[in-house]
Symmetry: C2
Subunit: 326 residues, 2 copies
Amino acid sequence: MTLPPEFTLIARHFRPLAGAGGLDLADDAALLAPPTDRELVLAADAMVAGVHFLADDPPETIGRKLLRVNLSDLAAMGAEPLAYLMTVALPHGTPDTWLQGFVAGLAEDQRRYALQVLGGDTVSTPGPLTLSLTILGSVPPGAAIRRSGAQPGDDLWVSGTLGDGALGLCAIRGEIPDDGTLAARYRLPEPRLALGQALRGLATAMLDVSDGLVQDCGHLARLAGCAAAIEAAALPLSPMARAAGDAARAAALSGGDDYELLFAAHPADAPRVEAAARAADTPVTRIGRFASPGEAETFTTGPAPVMVRDEGGRDITPARGGWSHT
Amino acid sequence: MTLPPEFTLIARHFRPLAGAGGLDLADDAALLAPPTDRELVLAADAMVAGVHFLADDPPETIGRKLLRVNLSDLAAMGAEPLAYLMTVALPHGTPDTWLQGFVAGLAEDQRRYALQVLGGDTVSTPGPLTLSLTILGSVPPGAAIRRSGAQPGDDLWVSGTLGDGALGLCAIRGEIPDDGTLAARYRLPEPRLALGQALRGLATAMLDVSDGLVQDCGHLARLAGCAAAIEAAALPLSPMARAAGDAARAAALSGGDDYELLFAAHPADAPRVEAAARAADTPVTRIGRFASPGEAETFTTGPAPVMVRDEGGRDITPARGGWSHT
């Protein structure tokens, strides 16, 4: 379609981002020779201004947040990134400087993650800025780590620190103190790609924490057909999260936007998990375990398959398991 | 994220659409074993209610329109469809019946085009319904038909009839009479997949008409570095478009949303083009040609690389070459 000036601008800025497969973003579609002897891994996510990010977030971070959320889905499968396609529904009158920042941020992350953009579309909207991104990655055949597969008795592990994403939103709103690290976690999550790949053949089940720890652990437990217990005292918190006091534990249990890897592994594999984490330069923490057969009934107190316990073994599972963007 | 009832509903309806590769839409990402000895072809498009379709269009047609627009991009490359991913930003309070219709329409086209859905995302928006779709297809290596490649002296061909998409919008608005065929063309374009595939090795350049004939022909001409002339009398019009009178020619030249294939072929290949069209059960019409070397200067009268001529050879190129959704 004939594009108003801001769209011509974004097209002009997007074009240099395109690799050879993107056909300079000038054809009807892009061509990609699939990597040989690999399975493709694909995911798509959308974000809306005011719902999944703040309309006045720095433009440099907005496209990258969606890219990293998608990269986190690849990490959770143990996949390596390959390429992406992105569509942008832009509000009328979006200033040129905003677009320049938006594209500069994406360019930086394309370099960081060795990604090429294969195509996309820019349209106009009378509503809020709305982004959609499809990511492509690859794994050796059969090596993808699925959500199902946890075994009774497996340990439950998590990467990095929990709660920072949700606390970051509070910090940006001025509700809690922040040296900038919490806000950065909300705006630019860190996809744990190296760790995800290092856990192939080792993690029995994995996902990335985007809905909140308790809810996401519930997905793993339900798919495994068994209950899980999380030890609250073991939850890894960042120094800035600890400074937030009581809010930190709630955010760690139920906050969204952390994009850390949550995974199950056989207890005997704990040394191998720790070695994989060191190799990937990513901290991991054992935060609980899945019930062994026969133990499940005493493991949870209600219909939820996940119990959170304090140091005294008391059930402190939050009433509401997840956190909703909507 | 925790989804309000309408999102749970759409997830429940989407899930049966998913093939094995979609992992039942329950994992972080989908797995796809790429077809052997093929190149992948990928495109992404977005649509916004009130911009690219009418908010009160039947829900059965809305998702399918975006799917077909993307399939048309595959057709324009000579590719065969494989799978898609879709994200949906839904306004609050979208009724269940609307969602049921939306998903039923997609299910019908998945069957029609033998497509599987590999994944997607449903989010909430305070703005208009916004859809984004990434399509995957494949071609034998090197067989994709590109936009560049037209040669001086090539014939210019188009499939089907022109102008119906733009006239369909006028008809829906009650501005012109319609027996339903024009409205159907606006709401459900027909991707010319069989023709696109039949033209591999035959069309020297191809795209689908989405911006308007003159503007899209300009893309082919510019990439070929030569001018093109379109014979207005040769433009294929549907019976219902002819009934619209003068508006029909304007719509055929500058209307959008036709999604017919516009392609170049060597004049000696005209019989083979016609045979390919018969095999694909899709009518084609020769509507002009690209200038031969030395002829270009007399071929166009201005800076535009495309001239439209009437029966007397007079230049009747419309002042505005394209049609904008924005």
